[in-house]
């Protein structure tokens, strides 16, 4: 148990609305160990960002955690009040978001923002904090640190800004980093630099990383394990190479097939018919059943789950039991 940094159990996030309760995250369990990168992948609205936000304690009301628990290195964090959570966030969990411009204050020099954050989380004095800020900037690969430390965010390029945000996330040497689409706003060559940086930091510091993205390619090159989400539920989780090469869940299979290949020529891309259901219209049983070519009676009646206590598997009756018929086989 010792090296499990993040332990999410049966997490359920609800949004009460006038028309009823929407379940944005439905019974998700996952763990991330020290030095491990877990990719969380899914299409827009699948609940992947919502999962990240609940871990960070940043759910926007009326969204709330309705069930389940989140433990950080053994300490429960989902029931903390705002003030206690604020101390955890930043110090023990770092956050990196998609748009580096919104994570930085445009009115302050980046050095001052780093110093402020470092002093908030450690007891270094101003000068020591500034030295630490410079070290961090060097560590994330910003050239000419002495000159750049007093620049404003707008004076940096997008890739450099994202490096600053990563430096900010590292200020307090957190145990866990939640990175939500950290490279989506960046060009491919810069994206490769940023993912390589994340990987290096994770390896060298033993930080656990939750990498939320829609880009399966980024996951394949960065993450150790991957969790695939669909309509708020976890449909498949496992080692990256297994999920990419031998996906089990029909949704994951379809998702992989729909990505244009860099090697194979196909006349037509594989398609998943239809679209992901809206949160207010999730069908009974497996949420994917209306789009699944192999769905049977059981899929329309019972919700499949990842087998309890396992860190790999697919939430699919066919993959688990070999049959989609209702029966005593369960």
């Amino acid at each position: 148990m010792s090296d499990v940094v993040l332990d999410v159990r049966n997490l359920r996030v609800e949004f009460p609305t006038r028309k009823g309760v929407l379940v944005a995250v439905d019974d998700i369990s996952l763990q991330i160990r020290r030095g491990e990168i877990l990719g969380v992948v899914g299409e827009s609205g699948a609940g992947k960002s919502m999962t990240g936000m609940s871990i960070l304690g940043l759910l926007e009301p009326p969204g709330r955690i309705a069930a389940g628990s989140i433990h950080l290195s053994g300490d429960r964090i989902d029931d903390l009040d705002d003030r206690a959570m604020q101390a955890v966030r930043g110090r023990r969990i770092g956050a990196i978001f998609q748009d580096p411009l919104t994570s930085l204050n445009p009115l302050f020099r980046v050095g001052d923002q780093l110093v402020e954050t470092i002093r908030l989380h450690t007891d270094l004095d101003k000068r020591q904090a500034r030295d630490r800020a410079k070290d961090l900037m060097r560590e994330v690969g910003i050239p000419a640190v002495e000159e750049r430390i007093d620049s404003y965010p707008h004076q940096f390029s997008g890739g450099m800004r994202q490096r600053i945000v990563i430096a900010l996330a590292l200020c307090a040497e957190p145990e866990l980093i939640v990175a939500d689409e950290p490279t989506t706003a960046l060009d491919v060559s810069i994206q490769a630099q940023i993912t390589a940086l994340l990987k290096r930091l994770c390896r060298e510091r033993g930080t656990a990383v939750m990498l939320v993205t829609h880009d399966m390619g980024v996951i394949a090159e960065t993450a150790d394990r991957v969790a695939v989400m669909y309509a708020g539920r976890l449909v498949e989780i496992g080692k990256v190479e297994d999920v990419v090469r031998r996906p089990q869940h029909p949704y994951t299979i379809g998702l992989m097939g729909s990505i244009p290949s860099l090697r194979k020529d196909v006349e037509e891309l594989q398609m998943i018919p239809g679209a992901m259901p809206r949160l207010n219209a999730i069908p009974p049983g497996c949420a994917f059943n209306p789009r699944c070519t192999q769905a049977g009676p059981r899929c329309r009646a019972e919700v499949p789950r990842i087998p309890g206590g396992h860190s790999t598997g697919a939430a699919c009756w066919l993959a688990q039991t070999g049959t989609v018929e209702k029966g005593e086989a369960a």
Partner: protein, 324 residues
Amino acid sequence: MTLRPDAILEVDALERRFDVSAPWLNRLIERKPRRTLRAVDGVDFIIRRGQTLALVGESGCGKSTIAKLVTGLHAPSGGNIRFHGDRDRLQMIFQDPFASLNPRWRVARIIAEPLRTLRPETPEAEVSARVDELLRTVGLAPADGLKFPHEFSGGQRQRISIARALAGEPEFLVCDEPTSALDVSVQAQVLNLMKRLQKEMELTYLFISHDLSVVRHMADVIAVMYLGRIVEIQPTADLFANPLHPYTRLLLETIPDLEAPKRDRAPMGGEVPSPVSPPPGCSFHPRCPLAFERCKQERPERRSHVHNRRVACFAAEEGGPDVR
């Protein structure tokens, strides 16, 4: 001067400059100089009828500016664009299906707009029959015409954009990042639809994207752009099998590859310089592993032999030891 009888679009020495100077008062008081951004800086290509030419490159390379020049949304600052077709039969599909559809119009009216503008004499019954047919063509139902854009998902909205573009019976479509805002499974649906329509209606596409895997799937010919110039242009299979320009190779190396993830690669450093003050000589030389003295001073051209020269690079041309 038509070089090829089957060319539908010929672009020759195309340039577009933007004035990005500080406001007049700042120039006067702070003596700030006038500054020009060369968004498109001497670009040539031709597109043959029924084919797809893709422009790829990173943000700021000028690919979207070319789309706007070709469609006439910007006027060129130099060079020329010859379109050997009916100007009315050139349409555009934009990236953002949320911004490109009028939120106050019903879908049927949106789709009918090109018809009503281009052929105002069309009887109303015929217009609505055509709209129904177009909705079916792109995989929507005729009843969807009564809805408003906000009632649709991103993928469905992009289908509406495609239906609108098809309403004028185009022969040439300029598609600026048509699937970049979509999820991959929806992207697959839209790309398949575009390919099917191309075959059925003999459409020609100018396809703009930053995504090399999408471009590989869609294009017959790929032009790679860097800082306002085309650095390499080749048929798709050749470009992937034998990339000539170091920048093309950088791009191919850095895109994540699902089938063969490069988990331990050291990514190439550097960033795209500002197009306002591009480096002298070959604008890629500060990041180029093959750069030598000449690259810092002279600008490699593809121009002189317009369409036979495939790459603008001295190293690739002179075939140094490091060049495949």
